[in-house]
Amino acid sequence: MPNRTESEPAPFAREGGSVLACIGHGAGGARVVAASSRLAMLAGAPWHAVLVETPRTRRMQEPVRLAALEQLRQAASQGAVTSVLEGDDPAAVIAAYARRHACATAVLARGRAAPLPWARPVARRLARLAPDIDIVEVARAQGRPPATREAGAALDQPAPPRRYLAALAASLATALVALPLLPLLDVANAAMLFLLCVVLVAIRLGRGPAVAATLAGFCALVLAVPRRAYDVSEFKYAVTFGVMLAVGWITARLTAGLREQAEAAIAREARTRSLYEFARALSVALQLEQVFEITRRFVERSFDARSVILLPGVDGRLAAPSAPVLNVLDMAAAQWAFEHAEPAGAGTATLPSNAFIYLPLLAPMRTRGVLAVRAARQGTLLVPEQRALLDAFAALAAIALERVHYVDVAQEALVSIEGERLRNSLLSALSHDLRTPLTGLVGLSESLTLSRPPLESSQMELACLLRDEARRMSTLVANLLDMARIQSGGVKLKLEWQSVEEAVGAALRACRWQLGGRTVTTRLAPGLPLVRFDAALIERVLCNLLENAAKYTPLDAAIEIGARLDEGLLLLSVCDDGPGLPVGREDALFEKFVRGQQESPIAGVGLGLAICRAIVDAHGGRMRAFNRAAGGACFELGLPLGDAPALPVPDAEEDQRVHQP
């Protein structure tokens, strides 16, 4: 009972061996696949699905063979390792496969009653060939007549009548040679000549004509013999005729079978070679156009078909080909095939009336596009071997497309690395070349101020001015280089969890000489968390803001640095009590080369604030400027807060103890 077999598969699934589903060309393939998949799942074992092609199955009708291949595909989609095996004896082929892949259980559809008493079902033969394998038989589908037999009978390649005529002519010629010699020869020897003729016909013309030749020869011999007296040797002749008929028939079948196998082998070899040549041609392709051209050429040569590869645009829609070669292309079907990663069009389950077949180009990373093929003769692509070959072509083309894609990606990466390297070396060369003379200038002017005996007061004043201007110049150069680095996208933020207090302290120390005698007060909210930023760059922002404040305020001005938290941001502000900002132009100050007053006696090019904004933007923060109600300018930057990392546990405990007196 089918239900019993399927509902209690567990006892059959052995530990430690995989399950082998043997899909036949008859009914029951779906049941075999379903049962095997469940067995494998219950046993937690991998499973294989095989389809055996024999000379007999190769003669079956296309729908039957396609149905079997479809079962194989189903199995593959359910996780089976699938393969199509070739051989004369299905049982032997299956046994060999099972041994090679350590399969412990084989599942097959129950064989129908044997057509001939000596032809044993596959299951029985398999049991004898591989006694260590469990064999599970599932029932064939109910109510369906055995399809193979009908197919097998009806589907002998219909040999054209010409061949039969040729076969009959050959028999006639043999009769013309052999019958006149009958008096000299024995009947058995004449029969030998006819058998020779049958063998030749079978080799040249195939099975049907060979059978026809056998019958023709038999008739000729029977008719020729009765002219002579029937005597006691009548029985002898009957035996001779009978044996001749049987041997002729068997020879015809065997010879024709051999010939078919040879032809199949040649066809297989041709397919393999075309696949190999296609793969080799694609392996050197480095551009999309080359892949297109090679695919088009090979599809034309192997299938006598026209083809085009459709690639998706950035929006995921396939773009219609620019050349009008395939004007009846159904873009909707192609898009369907692309999106579902399943073939569509002629010979498939989806839109089978379409003139084209649309194969998705499935590469390891993603679907790369669609291969649309239209054969000159509609049936060419329906043959399973041809379909399998076309699928292989599609897979190769997909891999080639993916490789070309990654070649492009690699080249882009190379170019960008090269560009970055060039930019960095240029900037560091500039930096070195500008800083070196400035270092000399600063040092030498300072040496002047320290020289002994001391300079006169007017000379000293000049020396101090020289020193201060040199320092200002070096700040300017630092700003310019930073701007260049940030603008060229070459800045990699060194983000670390930083203390705000520390950043403020470091900035104040770094630009203490620019501040002159101005008093700076810090107003940092208690308990500020660590904030993630690039300490060197934020120090530059604070320095620029402090320097700005110092530049536009009198020497006795009060500068205030504040830090507080507000809505997920750390707000850092630098405010002064100077003349304030020009009303209405607060935001324009952050533009490059924009200054509060165009004609200002105060030196500067207006780069500092632009850099501040660029740095803060790079941190994902924001920056603004405003006038305080009490007078004076205020610059504020907001940096996003994150989840500060934890302290090591013992330290945290120790801290708690200390902070609770």
Partner: protein
């Protein structure tokens, strides 16, 4: 200077103007100054002149100054002060880890240069003398034997971790200590990626020992490099 004869400095720098004012500044302090304009010459002079101080530019035309640091450290503890451009924080840390004593960012003032030189020499002499059991900076006094800290004569309580951090800085008084080195010495070698530990504990130390923690005078930050305890 405690020695009778004048101390000897070696300046390895390819730029003549920088060499010149460094020489003038050091000579003003009573040093005898030798100059090398490239790495090759510098390596020879470091061996033959037996200097008491080396001032080294990291970017020399014929090679990396790091090589000189490593070679000299193979046989001598002579103080080495490195000159470097601002953007190369990584180079500074690498030079300090390779054994340089301190660094100066170009452009630098003579005041800074001389302060670094004095600190480096003081530390070296301290190392030889292994002097007193108490150290002080500003209004803070640390008794190394009793492990007690006073500020303005008042006892200050430090947690064990804070004291350990302070003692590493005290041992390198006046000299920059890189953040990785502090992490290694205070928290152990497995914590070198936790840079925020140092920042938090430096904050605690400033709260307890500085007058204005936001404008420290002694526990200074060398941005992106490390910390310096300024006496």
């Amino acid at each position: 200077m405690t020695t009778e004869s004048s101390p000897v400095a070696l300046v390895v720098e390819d730029e003549p103007q920088i060499r010149r004012f460094v020489r003038m500044a050091l000579e003003g302090e009573g040093w005898v100054v030798h100059q090398s304009e490239n790495l090759k010459r510098g390596l020879i002079d470091a061996g033959t002149r037996t200097p008491d101080l080396i001032i080294l530019d990291l970017g020399l035309p014929d090679g990396d100054g790091m090589r000189l640091i490593r070679e000299v450290r193979g046989w001598s503890p002579v103080p080495i002060i490195v000159l470097s451009a601002r953007i190369d924080e990584g180079d500074k840390i690498a030079a300090l880890d390779a054994g340089a004593d301190d660094y100066l960012t170009k452009p630098f003032g003579i005041g800074e240069l001389l302060a670094r030189v004095r600190a480096a020499l003081r530390r070296q002499h301290k190392g030889i003398a292994q002097a007193s059991s108490s150290v002080s900076f500003g209004k803070v006094e640390v008794d190394l034997q009793k492990r007690q800290v006073h500020r303005d004569g008042q006892p200050v309580h430090l947690t064990p971790t804070e004291y350990k951090l302070l003692s590493v800085l005290l041992a390198n008084m006046g000299r920059v200590v890189t953040a990785p080195q502090l992490l290694r010495e205070v928290w152990g070698p497995s914590n070198t990626d936790n840079g925020h530990y140092v920042r938090i504990y430096m904050g605690h130390l400033r709260q307890k020992l500085e007058e204005d923690p936001a404008q420290p005078r002694h526990l200074l930050t060398e941005t992106a490099v490390g910390y310096r305890l300024q006496p």
